[in-house]
Subunit: 275 residues, 2 copies
DNA sequence: TGAATAGTGTCTGTGAGACAATATTAT
DNA sequence: ATAATATTGTCTCACAGACACTATTCA
């Protein structure tokens, strides 16, 4: 028989929080950015890559595999604060664009015990990274190919290549939501291939209807560079005039010019808020 | 000094999962639907309302306040499975549209202890509810008014009215993401006003670019009814011809007609997948 | 007949896709 | 001069907003 309490205070004094078995939580962060490839042809622009920061695990479980920067959430720590803490650990950056993505809660994600993980996406401009990233961390360029039912992803940091394959199945006919399953994966720990794929998908969508891209850009940029960033994340070429029309209201022309390439100089723009 | 392990198996055998303090997790579900208001004028259509299912708490904490259907997640239970279990508890429905929304993780959401909650949104067609909902549950019609910085919500189940007020602040200039804070709230438990508001916002967005609305419709419906559902959720009137153009590719005319109102009969349509 | 809803026609403006054309630089 | 990128012009087509008009029912 349940005891009758007269007030909330009385109830809380008595409350035994151990009646439900508790679990551990982590926050994992997709730190996305854009990298420039060194270019020797003096005429050509340096090619841009879409990239993500991974960390090599130096401990079990999944020792020597790569994973997303992450960590356990403190018992009195807000989840988003935990994400910020982890982000600052890796990059020493603060006040960064950070968005909660999805909470992964399959019972056997982690071989140690029950761990639920909330994933976040951070968008950074690499130029603001004045400090070095930690030894065990590395930027991987992302190449993703996608057909109706499969996603092929290759991550490349210049010396190592990580490939994995994900199947996608429409969850229901009324939406564009997919259930993702790992088909092939050697080098990534946990279910992080799923986290990466869902993050890429979210970012692609956000590019189309928000201004998030400017979180990955320096203060001044050319429209050509900006277009390249869109193209490399969306994975498709865009038409110049259409792109410029689309972006026109979001940017502001400055009196600075980008010169030095063996071609017509380009006006430098900056982000203009408001719409 | 950390012990050196030779293999993952060896490591796991030794692993002590108690080194991090664990926490509790719940799943809370926004069960959205559409209700018909009884209508006595034989000519008029019955007015539709956007509605959500709430449960009256019969226990501390927040005794006698209303809250979203929810419950603790079992130590070996997938979060989404927990959400389905809770949904079935309240409605006895299965195979329902269910979407993860957001994970709320402020340290003091729950006065008992640290509880992180993942919220889900379920969309149902009330006509498929053959069983009664539980005694302590009730459908509330949603009326939401919104200006630049505040959201006023009134929930009404016919005999009781719940009002609350939320402030919204743009998180950053590059997106349309808002930080919500509760300004006034008497009758709802926990941070559920925030959950409700973020769910409404998500649903509004989804209406515009997916077919989720059909999860709330019966198999056969008139375009007038369908338009009313859009209008009542979006909180604005739509123009008939524009609405019909927009919806045309998603529905299929049937040979059934809706008659009996004091006005021209209406063709019954059904959802047509593909696009 | 009239209130109420169902359904269509059409004008206009906006904006995206497509392609062509011109402009400017360093070597 | 030439390769490479920067930038603009313009035609067409699709589509959304707006408003007007016609159709059909039942008390």
């Amino acid at each position: 028989m349940m005891k009758e309490y007269k007030s909330e205070e009385e109830f809380l004094k008595d409350y035994d929080s151990s009646i439900f078995e508790k679990l551990s939580m982590t926050a994992d962060i997709l730190i996305f950015s854009v990298s420039d490839e060194v270019q020797n042809n003096y005429r050509k622009l340096s090619k841009k890559h879409f990239s993500v920061l991974l960390v090599k695990r130096d401990n079990y479980p999944f020792k020597d595999k790569w994973c997303l920067p992450g960590g356990f959430i403190g018992i009195d720590e807000d989840i988003e604060d935990a994400a910020k803490r982890i982000l600052a650990n890796e990059t020493n950056l603060h006040d960064i664009y950070l968005e909660q993505l999805y909470t992964f809660g399959s019972p056997n994600r982690d071989p140690r015990m029950r761990v639920v993980s909330t994933s976040y996406m951070a968008l950074i401009d690499k130029n603001t990274l004045n400090e070095q990233i930690p030894n065990n961390a590395s930027w991987f360029n992302i190449m993703a190919l996608e057909d109706k039912e499969t996603i092929f992803v290759t991550l490349d940091n210049g010396s190592e290549e990580i490939k994995f394959k994900i199947s996608k199945t429409l969850k229901e006919k009324t939406t564009d939501r997919y259930k993702y399953d790992i088909l092939e994966n050697d080098k990534l720990a946990f279910d992080h291939p799923l986290v990466i794929v869902s993050g890429i998908s979210r970012l692609k969508n956000k590019l189309e209807y928000t201004d998030v891209v400017f979180n990955m850009m320096p203060e001044y940029f050319t429209l050509g560079e900006l277009q390249q960033v869109y193209e490399v994340i969306l994975g498709k070429k865009l038409l110049d005039p259409a792109f410029r029309r689309m972006i026109a209201s979001k940017v502001e022309k400055t009196d600075k010019m980008q010169t030095g390439g063996g071609h017509r100089p380009s006006v430098l723009f900056k982000y203009k808020s408001h719409d």
